[in-house]
C-alpha cells in the first residue's frame, strides 16, 4: 500500500511539474522518462534476476528500428507495439542461446550479439541509413492524433508509457514470479532444488527486459524523430547499467532516479567543461566508494526496508 502510494506519487509529481518546467527541461525530462523505461528493463534482468548483460542496446535498437522503419508505411499506433514486440522477440532469441552460459561468458556472448546487430545496421545502409540513420517525418510521428513533435503531447506520451511501465514493474517484483527472479539471483542451485527452472525463469525475465527496452527504443524514435546506429552501439549497452547502479539495482524507483541524475550530471558538466565524461567517472567512483547500493538501495538499507 505504502509502496503503491509512493510510486503513484512520483507519477503525479511528474504530471504536476510540467506547468513549471521551462521548455528546455520539459524536453529533457520527457527524454529521461523514456530512458528510465529502458533502465527499468535493464534492471529486471540485472538488478532482480542477476543477469549482467552487455548487449541491451540490441533490444533498444530493435524497438527503435522496427518502429522507425514501420512508420514509413504504417500508422504510429501500429508501429509502436511492433517495436515493443521486436525488443521482446530479440531478447527471447538472444536468451535462448546466451542463457546457456552464465557470468563472464554471458557478458561476452550478449556483447557479441549486440555488436553483430550494430554491424548489421551499418551493413544494410540502404535500409537503415547506415551510421547516419534517418529522420522521421512529422506526419509519421502522429500517434492517435497526438503530434509527438510538439512538447506537450510528447511529455504526456512519455509520462503515460513511463507510468504504465513503472506500475507494471512494481506488480512484477511483488508477484510470485518476481520472488523467483530474486531467488535465481541469490542462489540458483537452491532455487533449482526448490523446483524452479533456472533457464525458464531467466528466459522470461530477459524477454520482459527486452520488452521494456524495445518499448523505450520505439517511443524514443517517435518522440525525437531520429533513428541512428549510435543507439545500437556499445555505449547504449553500458548506459542502462550505469543508470541502474547509480539509482540502485533491484529497486523499482532506482532506474528513474539514476537516469535523471546521470542525465543532468552530464548536461550540467558539459556546460562548464569539455570533460563531462570525467565528471561522470568521478561521480561513479564516489558512488562505488560511498553508496555501492545506489541511491534507492542505500535508502532501503538505512531504514526503508519496505521499498520494493
Amino acid at each position: 500500500m505504502k509502496a503503491l502510494a509512493l510510486h503513484l506519487a512520483l507519477i503525479g509529481a511528474l504530471l504536476a511539474v510540467q506547468v513549471v518546467l521551462p521548455p528546455y527541461h520539459y524536453t529533457n525530462v520527457a527524454r529521461v522518462m523514456v530512458l528510465a523505461v529502458y533502465a527499468m528493463g535493464y534492471n529486471i534482468a540485472f538488478g532482480y534476476t542477476g543477469l549482467l548483460s552487455l548487449g541491451h542496446a540490441l533490444f533498444f535498437a530493435a524497438g527503435m528500428y522496427a518502429t522507425g522503419l514501420a512508420v514509413h508505411s504504417a500508422p504510429a499506433l501500429l508501429a509502436l507495439p511492433l517495436g515493443m514486440l521486436a525488443g521482446a522477440a530479440m531478447a527471447l532469441a538472444v536468451g535462448l542461446l546466451a542463457l546457456r552460459t552464465a557470468g563472464v561468458a554471458f557478458m561476452i556472448v550478449t556483447l557479441m550479439f549486440a555488436q553483430a546487430g550494430y554491424l548489421t545496421i551499418l551493413y544494410y545502409g540502404p535500409v537503415t541509413g547506415g551510421d547516419e540513420g534517418f529522420v522521421l517525418a512529422r506526419e509519421a510521428r502522429m500517434l492517435a492524433g497526438l503530434d509527438l513533435s510538439a512538447d506537450g503531447p510528447r511529455y504526456l506520451t512519455a509520462l503515460a508509457i513511463f507510468g504504465v511501465a513503472l506500475l507494471a514493474n512494481l506488480a512484477l517484483v511483488r508477484s510470485g514470479f518476481g520472488r523467483v527472479m530474486v531467488a535465481m539471483r541469490e542462489n540458483e542451485e537452491r532455487s533449482r532444488m526448490l523446483g524452479y527452472d533456472p533457464f525458464r525463469t531467466k528466459l522470461i525475465a530477459l524477454t520482459l527486459s527486452g520488452l521494456y527496452s524495445g518499448t523505450a527504443g520505439a517511443a524514443y524514435a517517435l518522440m525525437f524523430g531520429y533513428v541512428g546506429a549510435s543507439f545500437a552501439a556499445i555505449q547504449y549497452s553500458i548506459l542502462p547499467l550505469l543508470w541502474v547502479l547509480l539509482g540502485g539495482a533491484g529497486t523499482v524507483l532506482g532506474p528513474f532516479f539514476g537516469a535523471l541524475l546521470m542525465f543532468y550530471l552530464i548536461d550540467l558538466s558539459s556546460s562548464v567543461t569539455d570533460a563531462s565524461n570525467l565528471v561522470v567517472g568521478v561521480a561513479l567512483l564516489v558512488l562505488v566508494l560511498f553508496a555501492p547500493k545506489g541511491i534507492l538501495g542505500t535508502i532501503r538499507e538505512r531504514g526503508a526496508r519496505w521499498l520494493p
Binding site: 510470485g176 520472488r179 523467483v180 531467488a183 542462489n187 542451485e189 537452491r190 532444488m193 523446483g195 527452472d197
Partner: protein, 232 residues
C-alpha cells in the same frame, strides 16, 4: 516401493564414485544411508535428486521413469533434497526463504502457510531476520524447513545433524518422526545414535557399492560392515 534404482552408475574420471547400485525405498519408511567419508553417499543421492546426471542405470519414482528428468522437475514430482553444505538464501529474510518453498508447493494463503512452516521448526520468532545472520544450527534448521515446506513425498537429508547441539538433534529427530509415513525419508547420517534411533532400514555404502542393506539390528551384527565402517 516409492523409489527403485537399478544399476545406478556414476564415475568421475577413473574414480568409481557410484557403481552398479540397486536400491529400493518403501513408502513411508525412514531409510538411513551410511558409509565412510568418500563412500559416494552424496553422489548417490545427487543421482536420485537429479543434481548429478546418471551415467548408467535407471531410477523409477512412484512408478515413473525419472532417470533423465531434470532436477527441478523431480522436485515438482515430490523429491526434496537438503544440501550437505548448507544452501539457503543468506541475503533474504528467514520468512522469504521459506516462502519460496511454500509458494512452489502451491499455497492459497502464502503468508499464513509460511508462518505455519516457520512455527513447525520454531523459527517464527526470527522470521524477519536475514537468514545469513542466523546461528549455524538455525541455518541447518531453515534448510530442513525448506525441504519440509515443499510437502515432498520423498525427503532426502544429507547429514542434517552435522554441527548441531544435542538439544537441536533431539528436536530434529522429533521433526523427522512427525513427517512419516506421509513422507518417505532418506537420511545420510554419520551420527550412529541418530541412525539407530530413527532408521527402519539401513543401507551401507562403501567405495561406490552397496556393502549391506537391512534393519538396524542386522546391520549392527554384520561383520563386513563392522570392518569397513563401524570400526569393529
Amino acid at each position: 516401493m516409492i523409489l527403485e534404482a537399478r544399476g545406478l552408475t556414476r564415475h568421475f574420471g577413473g574414480l568409481r564414485a557410484i557403481h552398479a547400485v540397486d536400491f529400493d525405498l518403501t513408502q513411508g519408511e525412514i531409510h538411513a544411508l551410511i558409509g565412510p567419508n568418500g563412500a559416494g553417499k552424496t553422489t548417490f543421492v545427487g543421482l536420485l535428486s537429479g543434481r548429478i546426471p546418471v551415467e548408467a542405470g535407471t531410477i523409477r519414482f512412484a512408478g515413473d521413469d525419472i532417470t533423465r528428468l531434470p532436477a527441478h522437475r523431480r522436485v515438482r514430482l515430490g523429491i526434496a533434497y537438503t544440501f550437505q553444505i548448507t544452501s539457503i538464501y543468506p541475503r533474504l529474510s528467514v520468512h522469504d526463504n521459506l516462502a519460496l518453498a511454500v509458494q512452489q508447493r502451491g499455497a492459497a494463503d502464502l503468508g499464513r502457510e509460511t508462518l505455519a512452516a516457520l512455527e513447525r521448526v520454531g523459527l517464527a520468532g526470527r522470521a524477519a531476520q536475514e537468514a545469513g545472520t542466523l546461528a549455524y544450527g538455525h541455518q541447518r534448521l531453515l534448510e530442513i524447513a525448506m525441504g519440509l515446506a515443499l510437502s515432498p513425498r520423498l525427503l532426502i537429508l544429507d547429514e542434517p545433524t552435522q554441527g548441531l547441539a544435542n538439544a537441536e538433534i533431539d528436536a530434529f529427530k522429533a521433526l523427522v518422526r512427525s513427517v512419516v509415513p506421509e513422507t518417505t525419508v532418506l537420511l545420510i547420517e554419520h551420527n550412529m545414535d541418530v541412525v539407530m534411533d530413527l532408521a527402519d532400514r539401513i543401507t551401507v555404502l562403501n567405495a561406490g557399492e552397496v556393502l549391506a542393506s537391512g534393519p538396524p539390528a542386522q546391520i549392527r551384527a554384520n561383520e563386513a560392515v563392522q570392518t569397513a565402517y563401524l570400526g569393529g
